[in-house]
Amino acid sequence: MKSIEQIIFIDDDEINNLISERIVNKTIVSNLKLSSFVYAEEGLKYIKSEALKIEENKLILIFLDINMPFLNGWQVLEQIEQMGEIVHNKLLIYMLSSSIDPNDRRKASENKLVSEFIEKPLSNSIILQIMKNYNIPISENKI
């Protein structure tokens, strides 16, 4: 079974990235590597290099915002699409957006690369659920 090796947040809203990182830190015990990107392009570069570096049975968990400057979430997905299967197999992508527009939800469910659409804010219950599926130890003083 594959396990999560690190988590990447891509959102132009810095506060959101900060909050998300904290929630993850409070929820899990193991020291997963966390990275946040305000500019999607930088995030993409990082994803590409990391995906090629990590072991075969490891995964990178990505939380991707939809509405961002220059490259929005959908455009980021298009670029990942072009990176090929070797990269795809190492990614676990969740859309994390403030949007309550059903169209965004539908679009996410139609995209093969996306596991799920999550409405902001990221809650510890969602983190717990994901981690459970990938055998990541959970913090004792969780809710």
Partner: protein
Amino acid sequence: MNKEKQSYKFLLLEENPDYFTIIQELLFEKFTHPLVIRAKFEKVTDFLINKNNPFDAIILDLSLTIKRGKEIITDLLKIAGNCPIIILANTRDAKYCETYINQGVADYLFKEEITSTLLLKSILYAIKSNIQNQKIIQSEIELKTTQKAAKVGTWQTSLYDFSSIWSDEIYRILGEEKKESKVSHQHLLRYIYPTDLHVFKDAFTKSLSSKHLNVIHHRIKDNSGQIKFVEQRWKIVRDEESQPIYAVGTFNDVSEKKRFQERALKIEAYNKDILKNISSNIAIINSKGDIIASNEAWNRYSIENGEPIIEKTGNGSNYFKVCQDAWNSGDVSALKVLEGIKKVVNGKIPEFVHEYPCHSPEKKQWFAMKALKVSNTDKNVLIIHQDITPKKIVEFENEKIAFDLTQRNKNIEQFSYIVSHNLRGPLANILAMSELLKYDNVNPSDMLPILKGMSNAAFKMDDVLKDLNAILHADNPSSETLEEVYFQEITDIISNSFKNIIENQNIQIQTNFKEVESIFSLKSYIHSIFYNLIYNSIQFQHKNVTHKLEIQSKKTENGIQIKFKDNGTGINLQKNKERLFGFNKGLDNISEDKRIGLYIVKSQVEALKGNISVKSTVAKGTVFTIEFKIPLL
């Protein structure tokens, strides 16, 4: 004298055989092998009954008394048909012999003086004059036929005793049996329609002292009771002392002609009435553009209205020139109209239609001009200006409803987008941070950033709510009507609301609305467009440079153009052009509320069927160009 070559056939009625021989010899002297048949008068019928073998002449020896001779001649004329009769008379009394001529014989000779030459001359004369008589008879028959076809009869009335001779056709027109004898002038009066009687009587009396042709029209009631229209023409014939002797004239049944004329007149009158009473302005121009006919509405409009496209457009003026003049004086559609009409004239298009507003200070009006060929063979073109105001008003109402609905839809879209992204974003942050605060082991050092973040998010939400409010207020066109919006007035109001910023930061707003000072539009929309573009410009000031914003209006071919030009920081259009007016996040260094502002501008310009474009150079400035079509909708 040469012998006559032709072989003639003669019937010689002679009792005396000796004298028969003498005459026969005389005939043989001058004619080649003449056939001379002798008959007794009692037997003459047997010879003449065979019509296939007629004689060239009948020679009758009349040795009897004149009284007896007359009877014989009468009997003979009845059976002789066309054959001429020559009398050989015992007497030398020419006066008696003339009576034979009056009876109908061709010629006579005195027996005592007879020679072969005289006989030859007489026979030839008789035959020749007979042929002429035949011709006269023939032409009389033809005349009668012509009279019948033309329904023209002829009459002659003696002014001594007022007796009349009528041709057959008059009898036919009156529906009366033909009489051989003369009729009285009074007889005709019986047929004349009672109320027309004085017309005829007066005219006839008057004509007696006139030298000219007299013409009258009157009605008659024929024997079957049918009313007919008659045209009479006559002239008075006078003797050497200018005394009227008789009147001759024609009697013409013109009922059919009259009916036809009346119908034609009626149709013409109807057509005139239709043209006169129709409310559309109608004129006909020839291929050179000269107005050759126009209806009353057209002329009335020309007089009442000062509209350049229609003024001075009475009969005789040139419509092409009118259009040309209108174009020269600034009517932008006049050239299009001129070209359209010329295309119809040249047969390139079957018709040309152009709708245009023509507002007077009292009321708003719209017209449709239609140009079409009068007929396929005619080069002339019908120009119709029709008042389509009611139709336009309905159209506007429909468009307004459609416009309102579209706008409402857009508002809902905008609203859901703002709620979904701009409002939900900061709210999500507040929710997340409040979640963090629930943990027991929050480091005091973590508290401050969380509270700061929450505060920022709350302020952001407040900004978005203000924008949302502005959008919902501005986008309420249903409660508004179109009005004349003056650009300077709008600019002044907005400048005043930014008074502090403009004064503190020394911002210059220069306007030039000389070419177009106003627009017939929705005031709140124009206000919002100006507000957002002015606000946007102020936000993008270049540091260390006095910020200048120039706003000016211009006339274009289809409407008007408004330009907002500044010397601000500019926008990198290569990166951002597509998303500049979009509602997506994605414009570098432009904060959310400004993006909403440009989105509002774009949606409102488009709602007014306008167009907005942008040109910009980084560090040099930005130009927003708005174009509206006139008429607005």
